[in-house]
C-alpha cells in the first residue's frame, strides 16, 4: 500500500435482507483515502454513502471485501478488538449531534476518554482544551438542551477529536444547521484538516464541497466518479 494511503477499501460489497428481498447497498466499492485528506462522499439518498461511511468506520462489517486502515485489516479483528481500534483511530460526528442528553458539554467530550486509563484531571484538561479549540470554552457545564444546534455540533466535533484520532467520520454534519452555522462548522473541519486530521464526510450540500479536497460521487451503491478539488 502507498505510504500516504491511510484507508484502503477493497471490493466492498454490502447486501441487506429486506423482507424476502435482498438489496445490494454497495456493489464492490474500491476507494483509497490518503493521510490528511478531507474527502466528501456525495450522492442522493439511498446511494449507499452512509453505509460506506459506517463500513469504513469499522462499525458495519461488509458482506464481502475488506477495509485496510494503517495496514490493519479492520474486519479481521474480533468485535472487541475492533472497538479498541475505533477508540484509537476514529472519531464520529453525526447529523443529529448524538450527544448524551444527561451529560454536560465537557462530560460529553470526556466520553471517549472514560474507557482510557487517564486520570480524571487529565481527561478534564483534554476535554477543556478541545472545547476551547471549537470555541466553547465558556460553556463547559451546559447540558445539550442548553446549547444551540451549532454549539451541539461543536461539542460533537470536540468529542470526536478529544482522543486525537487520525480519522474523523462525519455523517451530514451540517444537515441540521442553518447556512451560517453550517459554514462555521465546515470552516472548523477545514481548520482541523489543516492540522493533519483525515476527514471523511457524507454530505448532500454542494456548498460544503468548497471546503473539502476531494469529492467522491455515489449512486446506487457504486462510485460514479470523483473530483479532486484542491
Amino acid at each position: 500500500m502507498d505510504k500516504t494511503t491511510l484507508i484502503n477499501a477493497i471490493k466492498i460489497l454490502k447486501k441487506y435482507q429486506s423482507g424476502s428481498e435482498q438489496v445490494t447497498a454497495l456493489g464492490g466499492i474500491e476507494l483509497k483515502v490518503g493521510k490528511g485528506e478531507f474527502l466528501a462522499l456525495m450522492g442522493p439518498s439511498g446511494s449507499g454513502k452512509s453505509t460506506l461511511l459506517t463500513i469504513l468506520g469499522a462499525l458495519n462489517p461488509p458482506t464481502s471485501g475488506s477495509v485496510i486502515i494503517d495496514d490493519i485489516d479492520v474486519y479481521k479483528l474480533s468485535s472487541e478488538r475492533r472497538a479498541d481500534f475505533r477508540s484509537a483511530y476514529m472519531g464520529f460526528v453525526f447529523q443529529q449531534f448524538h450527544l448524551i442528553s444527561y451529560l454536560t458539554a465537557v462530560e460529553n467530550v470526556m466520553l471517549p476518554l472514560a474507557i482510557s486509563n487517564k486520570p480524571h484531571h487529565e481527561q478534564l484538561n483534554m476535554a477543556k482544551q478541545v472545547l476551547d479549540k471549537v470555541g466553547l470554552g465558556n460553556k463547559l457545564n451546559r447540558l445539550p438542551n442548553q446549547l444551540s444546534g451549532g454549539e451541539q455540533e461543536r461539542v460533537a466535533i470536540a468529542r470526536a477529536i478529544v482522543n486525537e484520532p487520525p480519522i474523523v467520520f462525519a455523517d451530514e454534519p451540517t444537515g441540521a444547521l442553518d447556512v451560517k452555522t453550517g459554514i462555521e462548522i465546515m470552516k472548523l473541519f477545514q481548520q482541523l484538516n489543516g492540522e493533519g486530521l483525515t476527514i471523511i464526510m457524507v454530505t448532500h450540500n454542494p456548498e460544503n464541497l468548497d471546503y473539502v479536497k476531494r469529492t467522491v460521487y455515489m449512486r446506487d451503491g457504486i462510485i460514479e466518479g470523483e473530483q479532486q478539488l484542491s
Binding site: 458495519n60 472497538a83 444527561y102 474507557i115
Partner: protein, 391 residues
Amino acid sequence: MSLFKIALANLKIRKVKVLLILTGMVLGTATIVAMFSITAAMEKELRDHFDRLGTKVLLLEEQQERFSVSYRGITVAEDLGGGISLFHMEKLEVLKGTSLWNNISAIAPKLVAAGSTSRGETLLVLGVDFSEEVKVKGYWSIKGRFPEAQNEILLGKNLAERLDADLNDIISLFDGKLFLVSGVLAEMGSQEDNLAYMAIEELQQLTGSDGQVSMIELVIAGDQGLELAEQLVKEIKAKKIGLAGTIVKDAVEARKALVERFAQFSKLIAMVVILIGSLIMGTTMMSSVKERTGEIGIFRAQGFRKSHIISIILYEAATVSGLSGALGYFAGMSLAIVSAPVIGQVQTGITINPLVGFLVIGLSVTVGVLASLYPAVRAANLDPVKALSYF
C-alpha cells in the same frame, strides 16, 4: 469521566423510574429483613429457653404411667398404698458409654413417699438431690434457702399453708423425726405447691429404700434437646433395663414447632419477594436498555467494548439495588421492632447487626445484578449501526 459516573449520571435524570424501582425493592427487602429478624428473635428466645431449662426426660419403671399422681404431666403414682415401683440408680450406668451421655446436663433422681405429721396430716414427700434439682427447676422461687442438712425440708406453698408452717418452723414427720423448714417455694399453680422436698438420702433412709428412686429426671441442654431426647428414649428402650423414658413436653415445644413453621413461611416469602424483585429489576432494566438504544450506539461508536456497556448497566443495577438493600434493611429492622410483639409475640431480641446489614446489601446487589445481566448482555450485543439509527 468513568463508566460508574456515566451510570450515576443516567440514574440522576431518570428520577421517577429510579424512585419506583427503589420503592419496590425497598419494600421487598424490608419484608424479608423484618420476617427474618422476627424469626431470628423467636429462635433466640427459644434457644435461650432451652439453654436455660433444656429438654427433660423422665425415667420411670416400665408401666408406671398407670399411677395417678402426676408430676409435670406424667402420672407417677396412683395407688400409693400398693407401693411405687422403685429402681436402683445404677441402672443408669448402662447409658454412660453412649454418645448421648455427654449431652445430659443434669441428672435429678427423685423418690416419692407418703408421710404424715405428728398431728396426723398426710403429705407427699419428694426426696431430691438439691444440687441437681435446681438445674431442673430453673423457675423455682424460694423464700429462705434450700435444705443443706439431712434434717431440713422445703415446703410447697399450699402445703406450707395447710400445715400452717413457715420458715424456720419445726415439723415432725415419719414417726417423730423433726425437720427444720429451711425454705418455702413461691406459688407455681401446679402440683409442686402441694409437695414437701427433702434430701433423697434422708428419705431413702426413712423409707428403707436405700439407693432406690421412683424416677430420674434428665435434662438435655441446647436447642437440639428434643431430637436428642427422642434418641435417648429409644436408647433406653433398646437397652432393656426395665426403664421407660418419657419426654416432658411443655408449651415451649409447641412454640418451637410454631417458630419452625414461621421460619419456613419466612423463607417462602423471601423466595417470592426475591423473584418479584428480580422481575421488577429485569423488566425495568430491559425497558431502560430499549430507551437508550441510540445512546448505546454512541458508546459503541466511541470504541466502548461490549464489556464496557455491560459494566454501565450493571453499575446502575448495583447502585439502585445496593441503595435498596441499605434502605430496606433499616426499614425492615424498624418494621421488625414495631411488629415483633404482635406477629411473633417476641418482646426483645431484635438487634441491629451491621454484619447482617452488609449481607442484606450484598444479597440485594446480587439479585439486582443477576436480574440485569440479560438486559445488559442484550444491550452489549446491539448492532452499533442499528442502535445509532434509534437516535
